[in-house]
C-alpha cells in the first residue's frame, strides 16, 4: 500500500520571541522542527506500512530549507520525500495551501502510485488552524477522518478502515473506505528512533523537489497570496495588563494564617463564591 504523510517545518515556538518595539517575530537563531503533531501521523503511517507492506512518502510544502525536515522524516523510516517549493506559494493561507498540497498528492499518485491513505497531524503549532487536512480531503474528494485516536482495523482487499475518532464528550467509532485522509490526534503513539540503516539511507537519499510546474499546477492564481481569500491585516502583541498581582508573601506567617488570609481575599473579591464553593460536595 502507499501512504502519503504531509508534514510541516515550523519554528520551535517555545523559543520564539516577539520584538518589543516592532511586534514582529524574531526568528534569528530560532531552530525549526517538524510540527510535533505531524510526528504522530508519521509514526502511524510507518506502523501501517510495517504491518501491511508498501511505502510511505512524506510531503512538505515550504522553502528550500524545509528539506531538513524531510530528511529527518527519512531517518525515522519514511521511504521517499517530496519537497514542494516555489516562490508562488509564499503567503498561502489554508485554502491555498490545501490546493497546492492536493495537487502535489495527485502528482505523487501519478508518479509513484495512488495513495491509499493521506495522513496529516491534527494541526500545526504555528498556524493552529486544523484546516489544511480537511481542505486536502475536500480537494481530492477523499473521505475525511479527523482527530483519529486509533486505527482499529485496515482491510486493504476490502478497502475498509475502522477508526476511533475523538469528539466532544466522547469517542466515535467509525467505519470508512479507502482512500481516505486521516488527521491524527496527539499522544496516540510515540515516534520511533530510526535505525542506523534508515539514517544512512536518509543521508544518501535524493529528495524529490518539485516546483509548481513540476507538480502540474497550471493555475497559479490559486496559489500563494493570490489564491488566499484570507489576508492578515494587523499583527500585534496581546495587551498586557499593567497592574501586577497583589502579592501576599509568607516569610513571617504560618501557612494556616496565610491560607486564611487568601480565602478572605478571594471572598472579598468574589462574594458570590462563598456560597457556591463546594457546590458539588453539598449537592
Amino acid at each position: 500500500m502507499h501512504v502519503v504523510v504531509c508534514i510541516k517545518q515550523v519554528p520551535d515556538s517555545a523559543q520564539i520571541r516577539v520584538h518589543p518595539v516592532t511586534n514582529t517575530i524574531m526568528r534569528q537563531g530560532v531552530p525549526t522542527i517538524i510540527n510535533p503533531y505531524d510526528l504522530f501521523a508519521l509514526e502511524e503511517a510507518l506502523r501501517l506500512r510495517d504491518v501491511h507492506g508498501g511505502e510511505v512518502t512524506v510531503l512538505t510544502m515550504g522553502p528550500p530549507m524545509a528539506e531538513d525536515s524531510l530528511r529527518k522524516a527519512l531517518t525515522y523510516g519514511a521511504d521517499r520525500a517530496v519537497l514542494l517549493t516555489d516562490r508562488y506559494f509564499a503567503g498561502s493561507d489554508t485554502l491555498a495551501t490545501s490546493f497546492a498540497l492536493s495537487q502535489a498528492i495527485a502528482k505523487i499518485g501519478e508518479t509513484f502510485g495512488a495513495p491509499d491513505i493521506v495522513f496529516t497531524g491534527k494541526q500545526t503549532i504555528d498556524g493552529d488552524t486544523a484546516q489544511v487536512g480537511p481542505g486536502i480531503a475536500k480537494r481530492l474528494d477523499l473521505l475525511q477522518l479527523t482527530y483519529v485516536s486509533k486505527i482499529c482495523s485496515l482491510d486493504l482487499d476490502a478497502r475498509e478502515i475502522k477508526v476511533d475518532r475523538r469528539s466532544e464528550g466522547g469517542t466515535q467509532m467509525l467505519h470508512g473506505r479507502l482512500p481516505c485522509l486521516i488527521t491524527m490526534l496527539e499522544g496516540t503513539n510515540e515516534i520511533r528512533r530510526g535505525s542506523l540503516d534508515d539514517a544512512l539511507r536518509a543521508a544518501r537519499s535524493q529528495i524529490v523537489k518539485w516546483s509548481a510546474g513540476d507538480a502540474g499546477i497550471e493555475d497559479l492564481s490559486k496559489c500563494g497570496l493570490r489564491g488566499s481569500p484570507t489576508v492578515v491585516k494587523r499583527v500585534f502583541a496581546p495587551t498586557v495588563r499593567t497592574e501586577k498581582a497583589e502579592q501576599i508573601t509568607t516569610t513571617d506567617k504560618a501557612l494556616g494564617d496565610l491560607a486564611d488570609e487568601l480565602i478572605v481575599e478571594i471572598f472579598a473579591r468574589q462574594p458570590a463564591l462563598e456560597h457556591e464553593l463546594a457546590f458539588d460536595a453539598s449537592a
Binding site: T146, P229, V235, A259, I263
Partner: protein, 370 residues
Amino acid sequence: MTLTANQEIPRPAVGRAGMKKELPDHFKDYRHVWVFIEVERGNVHPVSFELLGEGRKLADKLGVKLAGVVLGPPGDATQLAIAEAFAYGADVAYLVENPLLEDYRNEPFTKALTNLVATYQPEILLLGATTLGRDLAGSVATTLLTGLTADCTELDVDADGSLAATRPTFGGSLLCTIYTLNCRPQMATVRPRVMAMPQRTNKPIGCVIQHGVLMVEEEIVTKVLGFISDVQSTNSNLAYADVVVGGGLGLGTSENLKLAKNLARVIGAEYGCSRPLVQKGWMPADRQIGQTGKTIRPKLYIAAGISGAIQHRVGVEGADLIVAINTDPNAPIFDFAHVGVVTDAIRFLPALTDVFTQRLSPHSRDKLAN
C-alpha cells in the same frame, strides 16, 4: 491562516492585488449573520449560545438578521435546539431535518450546510472550534472556496462592513486580525468559553426555514459503529467549571499532583494542568489548559506551581479571579494573576485545603468524608 516556517508574517500590503476589498458582484447580495448550532446526541453545545451572543452584536452593527442553523434528525432534540437558538437571540432559524443527520458525519453535514449557504447566502458564518466544528468548517470553506479563520478570540465588523477576525498565532505570542477578501461567506470558528455566554430570554420561536438535503444513505461512505461517552470515563468538564485548580511543573512530582486534586475535590472544583505535565504523562491531555489545551472561564482559577507562559495565559485569561501560588516572586504568572501568594505550593496547598474544609458547611464536610 497558515504561516510557513520561513516566510515573514504578511504585512498590510495595501495596493497589492490580494488586498483589494472589492467584492465581485455575485457576492454583493450576501446578507445576514449565521451561527451553526452544534447538536450532538441531542445536546446543544454551549459554544453555539456563546456564538449567538457574539453574532447578535455583529448583526446589530451590520443592521442585518441573526440566524441559527440546525442540522439534525427529525425529533424533539432538533426542535429544542431551534427553540434554544431563538432564546439566545436568533431572529431566524434554518433547519435541515433528515435521519441522515442523526450522528455527526462529515459528508452529509458538509453537503447540507454548503447547500444552505449557497441558497440563502449569509455574509458571515460562525462555528464553534470544537472537533465537530473544525471538521465541518474546513470542508465547507474548501467546498465554497472561501476564507476561514480558525479559533478567533475577537470578532468585529469594520466601517466598510467586513468581518475583522482576531486570533492568536505562534502559540499565543502574537495576535493577528484577518479579513476575508473577495469571497463570501466570511467564515470563522471560535473556541468554547472565549466569548461570554449571553442572557437567555423567553423569546417565542420565530420564523423557521426548512430545507432538504439531497443525499441518500448509500452515498455516505462513513458509518457510525458506536460511541463511548466520556461520562463513563474520567474525562473532564474543565471548560465549563466555575472553579478550577491548576497544577504545574512546580509541584515537582506526579505524586504531588494529588495536592491540587485534593483541594479541587474539597471545594467542588475541576482540576487541570500546564502542558509539561501532559507531556510527562502525569495527566491526560484533556486536562491541559491553554493554547493547545482547553480554554477556561471560571469564576476562580487557582494556579499552583505554574510559571504563566503565554501559551498557558491565553487559556486562563478569561477567568474572573486568578490566584497564583509560586515560589518565584518574578514568575510571569504574577503579571496577570489578581492575587499572588509567594510560597511553596507543595506545603501551602494542604494548608489551604484544610482551611477551606473548616469553612465548609457541616453537610458538605459529611459528604466529603464519605
